[in-house]
Amino acid sequence: MPGPLLAAALFAPAANRSDLLLRLFASVVLSAVLLMLAHKFLRRRGRRVLIVAVTFLGGLLFTLEYFWPTHLVKGRQVNFLTDWIEPATIALSIIGAFTVGLGVHSLTQVHGRLLLRRRPGWHNSLAFFISMVAMFVLVLWDFSAKAKPSAAGVLPFHNAVYEILFNGIYQPLIAATFSLLAFYIASAAYRAFRIRSAEAALMMAAAFIVMLAQVPLGAWLTHGIPQAGPLGYLGFFRLERLGDWIMKSWNSPAQRGITFGVAVGALAMSLRIWLSLERGTFFSQQPEASVEGNSAGSATES
């Protein structure tokens, strides 16, 4: 079949180092030329056509590969498009990697302006630049000259500084931020559980039962209720069983209901983008110019 043969020819691993370098060079030159040509000759309408075409073909590849009938080859289910999926995924990752430069550019632009104009808080921007450059240099240095500790357990200077900056400062800062969540959860829970309406009272009662059911105290409080014998049916009112019933019979169905709705919503959104039906949102201007007439508070709402 031509599909797998073409895929094999295009995506076979490089034979040696010079072959790899040649392919890299050719890919970069070809991409640059294609981008320059597109930028020079494609007008707004042409760009839109290109985006629509690439979006449709990309969606078509993944959709067809998933739904097309398969056959067994070397223990795995494949069809004529399977060999194209991994290269397409890698290509997406490469495009994503290029945008890291855009992120650095954005940060440099924002903090550079604050620093140059000596705006309030400029010292934070200075700290940002020092940290970014230091980590960039040290990560590259650490990566290119990774050395093992000496017999006395001493690391070379650059590895040691990297360890101190990353594992000694950055990671504890992140852990400290994460630990703040405990306090935020407590304050948010306090507000959520204030009884201001019948619904809030119901939620408070349910939460109280579920929380008690999770701890030994809950089980101890109701351990006297029989689970067997003529009054065994009362065992349902033991807190651990009541909590389990609330979670399984009320919470889970509600969560699944939300998940179903979200999945259908995501499908509709995907279809609109794949078929470029959502005109105006991402690729060009919205057909209608007025915002006020279409806003949430408009007369069409009921």
């Binding site: 739904f67 949430a296 009921s302």
Partner: protein, 264 residues
């Protein structure tokens, strides 16, 4: 190469049925068929939040979450476009902080187009769409820093959020901002409800662009979604009834039908 999952005939049929319904509904709406959308308070609150920032003469902060370019984040950008248009008509600034560098150029383009669409392109400032950090908690703290320094009057959180959601919203609340949030993730919805003034939950999140713009394509899509959901609910009721009546011993004709569809 990795092995990938594939659909069976039953799944293909269900997918075609659902997609066909949604596309048909869109086409009907595009031909002018009137469609009704119920009121969603969380989305109506966007106008109130923009108005508040305008009255106070302070900017707004919009967080599209931690997601990269996926369906959830694209929907967040769609809402961002509406917020920026609304803000532009009232000459109010919107600051956007992204956590994904891939998203940055798309967000910049969305914001620039939104300003242009209402004829206020001079209001667009490149530094208002920022890459904050790719790290979850560094992003949360960076965003809180922006809210605090810029004295944001209203905050919007739409997209994919995880543990950082509470850090963002609790600090936003402490700073006195009016907060509107929306996420399709059921695990984060309770945190938003506890800390934000208005919350868009579940599939309301995907109804946002239709609700806000009333564009026929989007309205049709929303109605199509509801038809599909009703069909799925009916299927579930039938399944429950079947499982209850036959208790795992399906009649011969039903078993044969399911086998024909390729169901396991």
């Amino acid at each position: 190469m990795a092995s990938f999952e594939h659909a069976n005939w039953l799944l293909t049929l269900i997918f075609l049925g659902m997609s066909g319904t949604i596309v048909a509904s869109i086409l009907l709406a595009q031909r002018g068929r009137g469609m009704f959308i119920r009121r969603i308070p969380g989305l109506s609150a966007i106008e109130e939040a923009v108005g508040r920032a305008t009255e106070m003469g302070r900017p707004m902060y919009f967080s599209p979450g931690l997601g990269s370019i996926d369906i959830t984040t694209l929907q967040a950008l769609s809402i961002l476009t509406h917020v920026v248009r609304l803000a532009a008509t009232q000459a109010t600034r919107v600051i956007v902080g992204t956590a994904d560098s891939t998203l940055l150029p798309v967000a910049e383009e969305s914001v620039r187009e939104a300003y242009t669409s209402v004829g206020r392109q001079e209001m667009y400032r490149p530094e208002d769409v920022r890459f904050v950090s790719g790290d979850q908690f560094a992003y949360a703290l960076g965003s809180v820093g922006i809210m605090s320094r810029e004295k944001a009057a209203s905050n919007f959180y739409f997209g994919q959020f995880f543990a950082e959601a509470l850090i963002l919203t609790e600090n936003g609340r402490a700073l006195g901002a009016l907060q509107v949030a929306g996420t399709p993730d059921p695990t984060q919805i309770p945190f938003f409800i506890a800390t934000c003034d208005y919350v868009v939950i579940g599939d309301e999140y995907y109804a946002a662009s239709a609700y806000l713009t009333r564009e026929p394509t989007l309205t049709g899509s929303l109605v199509g979604q509801d038809i599909v959901k009703a069909a799925l609910a009916a299927l579930m009721v039938l399944g429950i009834a079947g499982a209850t009546l036959w208790a795992g011993h399906a009649p011969h004709f039903l078993a044969k039908f399911m086998a024909l569809l390729g169901a396991h």
